[in-house]
Symmetry: C2
Subunit: 468 residues, 2 copies
């Protein structure tokens, strides 16, 4: 409250104290209300310690510079086995580490399908015994192998991968090829048509895309991502323009290839008929740029958000390979056909790597039509992007949002800002059926569990530089 | 001013009277200002007569219903000569009728190029004598032959045309194939590379697209237009998503065709490398739907806006084939390279048929990134669309603008509303160099000359139904 003399009404600035503001206002004071909330519970001490870390500001600037400047070129398409060193019984999954015992329905369904696809069993459900036995196979997060996978994110040896490279370091990231929507392995479905589609993808799609990408030469995925934001895509649940722009890049080489024209036509039909195909290119591009910011001492920037359908995990630039995990949340959104909330599994997939890089939910203002897929109003989508500037360290110089006057996307989630504001990262996502075998049931909006940011903050505080 | 007693300050509603409103406000009155301007000069009597025409409301509702419900299917690709009955010396042009004597530089340039392309002369400039002689050739508006052409809009016998059909009536409209940007015939350029590109388009592109479209079957252009508005295109100066979505439709048939794969690859490269390719599909689709509203007695809805580089002309549902013309205006926008305002020809082309159908400038709110091509701020683009609701009879049920909460595009320009509000239709457009041979110099925003709407209103008043 400002100093005052005589009979002038007092001038009051109220930071989050609504009852006080109301009372002052009723008594004739001029009240300016500032939206403010206290930081997350039990976070004050760690927050003070991390905010005082003299390395923090510079470390976060370095993280943002690396994330935004790292190039991401599609350089090859390769089979997962030799590329990632996977044998027939080695499986990768989305999200932080988890075992079969705690695995969600869609992750179990995808693993059963992958086991049948690899020929370990004849029928997917015969593999339950193997997985439950805890022996004779390996199960590891994609993220531990420079890879990402949407939804269940299961990668097995016979699948093919996009290979994305940062030419300045030679670092590579990997992602499986997108199967389309509905009844597909990554949503936990494993029916015979799911497996036969996977076989065609390994027998025809992968090898043909390999030929085309090698003949075409490296494709700049960030240039496509930048264009997508001008064309109503946000690169998580809208990838329509991206898919078509990417196809345009490989088309002449595909057509010029020696492959039978019926195979070429089928590949073109498959890719162009799947508006989500580019998601599996956006994801490894985002991971490649974010991985460049790993292991920067003192940085509070999030470098991965990932879900396995049970746990939501984050990794932070200043805390190495440590995961901070809490329960994956239920998604609020739109359902397919007769499905309803009771059919949906909690949040799942590595695709939140797009939000971690400032795309997806963070760039929804560039993709207002997405509300027809994930629910809500256009104004909500625009406000979601605006809100994310409150919890990020900067704006992306290449990715801009036309309707916000070409402002750069909010980039580099800062753990301290999330804890201080209690604003959680906004993710949009597909919804898998919670029963293994069902497939997709909808799409919607979700946030991480708040407590994982306090965990991360605590770990950052433990590693903070000594006070001077 | 409302009735008042005692000492209460008066309540004033001011409709457009700013000086009065200021004076009343200064004297303590509560003033509510309503934006209002008098109708266009000399229009009052005709306006009263047309507004009183008892057929008007129903006729305009009928016009809107026809425009929005008429289907537009791409059914074929054909050579112009036999299709439109053009001989080697017959030429079509954009806009209302005009002769060589009053033709603008870019229209002259395109005619010279077309004469050489048809083999009437060896070098384009040798045709000046022919055209100046006023004999031995014909020159007619595209619009008089169910056709449209962007910019100079010149169509000659050897060019190929898209054929768009309304299946319920069998009516067809036509448009040439898009050459790309820069030094191209439609912008008035006629250098050897322009002519050799046209030859390739007639020898390879047209016949191959014919094969593919016939094999594929009819393509619903309105479905593509509806999607484009969700993907940052407004179908006049942004057709990126549209071009790729259209290519997706014909690709499998192109690849399956018996044509040499090098030709197929070249066609795919040409189409996918030209973000404006779909403009020449959007235009005949718009014309087809608008032509369905011609000849509705009493309707004040505009069914064509077209420019020949000298004159801007409109045609109206209630006044048959009559053109109302005035001087084409200069375009305000962005220039390529070293070009400036002194290099630009006034407004030219049939492409304002997109605005007439509620797309282009009317749908700019769906395409905020267009301001990087035509100039201005994103807010201007959104406000331009909002303003167009003031002068249109309704909203399109299929074409929606996400950022306006999926509101339908403003559709059906009403001559009476333009005259009453003095709000002119907002067009975005390419800019041709004013010298024949130059080609494109920029892109920007423009409006029609106001007086042509008063002319149209006067003609509507003369045809108004007798007062009861």
């Amino acid at each position: 409250m400002s100093a005052r003399n005589g009979s002038q009404p007092p001038n009051v600035i109220s930071a989050g104290l609504e009852l006080f503001a109301d009372a002052a206002s009723e008594q004739g004071a001029q009240v300016r209300r500032i939206d403010w909330r206290p930081p997350m519970p039990s976070s004050e001490q760690a927050l003070a310690r991390v905010m005082a870390d003299r390395r923090r500001v510079q470390a976060n600037a370095e993280a943002l510079a690396r994330i935004t400047s790292t190039a991401a070129l599609l350089v090859d398409v390769l089979p997962a086995g030799p590329t990632l060193g996977l044998g027939t019984t080695d499986f990768l999954h989305a999200g932080p580490p988890i075992g079969w015992d705690r695995a969600s329905g869609p992750l179990r369904g995808a693993l059963l399908g992958a086991a049948a696809f690899e020929g370990i069993v004849d029928e997917p459900e015969q593999a339950i015994e193997l997985f439950a036995s805890r022996a004779g196979y390996s199960l590891d997060p994609c993220h531990h192998h420079s890879a990402v996978g949407p939804m269940a994110g299961v990668i097995s040896a016979s699948m093919w991968l996009f290979v994305v490279e940062d030419p300045s370091t030679g670092r590579r990231t990997y992602c499986s090829l997108n199967e389309g929507l509905g009844k597909v392995l990554r949503y936990g479905a494993y029916s015979p048509d799911v497996l036969s589609r996977l076989r065609w993808m390994s027998d025809v799609l992968g090898p043909l895309l390999q030929q085309a990408v090698r003949a075409r030469g490296p494709i700049d995925l960030k240039a496509i991502l930048a264009q997508m934001l001008q064309m109503g895509d946000e690169a998580h649940n809208r990838n329509r323009a991206g898919t078509l722009m990417w196809l345009r890049e490989v088309l002449p080489a595909l057509i010029d290839s020696a492959a039978p024209s019926s195979d070429v036509a089928e590949v073109v039909r498959f890719v162009s008929g799947n508006d989500h195909f580019f998601l599996n290119l956006a994801m490894p591009a985002c991971k490649l740029t974010l991985d460049s910011a790993r292991d920067i001492p003192g940085s509070t920037v999030v470098v991965a958000m990932a879900r396995n359908g049970t746990d939501f995990g984050i990794q932070v630039a200043g805390t190495g390979q440590q995961w901070f995990t809490g329960p994956a949340q239920l998604v609020d959104g739109l359902f397919l056909g007769d499905y309803g909330p009771e059919d949906a599994n909690p949040d799942i997939g590595d695709s939140a790597i797009t939000e971690t890089a400032g795309l997806g939910g963070f760039a929804m203002a560039a993709a207002p039509a997405i509300v027809r897929f994930v629910g809500g109003e256009v104004g909500d989508a625009i406000n979601a992007s605006r809100r994310m500037y409150e919890i990020t360290v900067g704006e992306h110089p290449m990715y801009s949002i036309p309707v916000l006057g070409f402002r750069g996307t909010p980039t580099g989630i800062d753990v301290t800002k999330v804890v201080r504001t209690q604003i959680l990262p906004q993710i949009n996502t597909g919804m898998a059926g919670k029963q293994a075998g069902v497939g997709q049931v909808g799409a919607g909006l979700v946030t991480p569990p708040a407590e994982i940011f306090v965990q991360a903050l605590t770990a950052l505080a433990e590693r903070a530089a000594p006070l001077l």
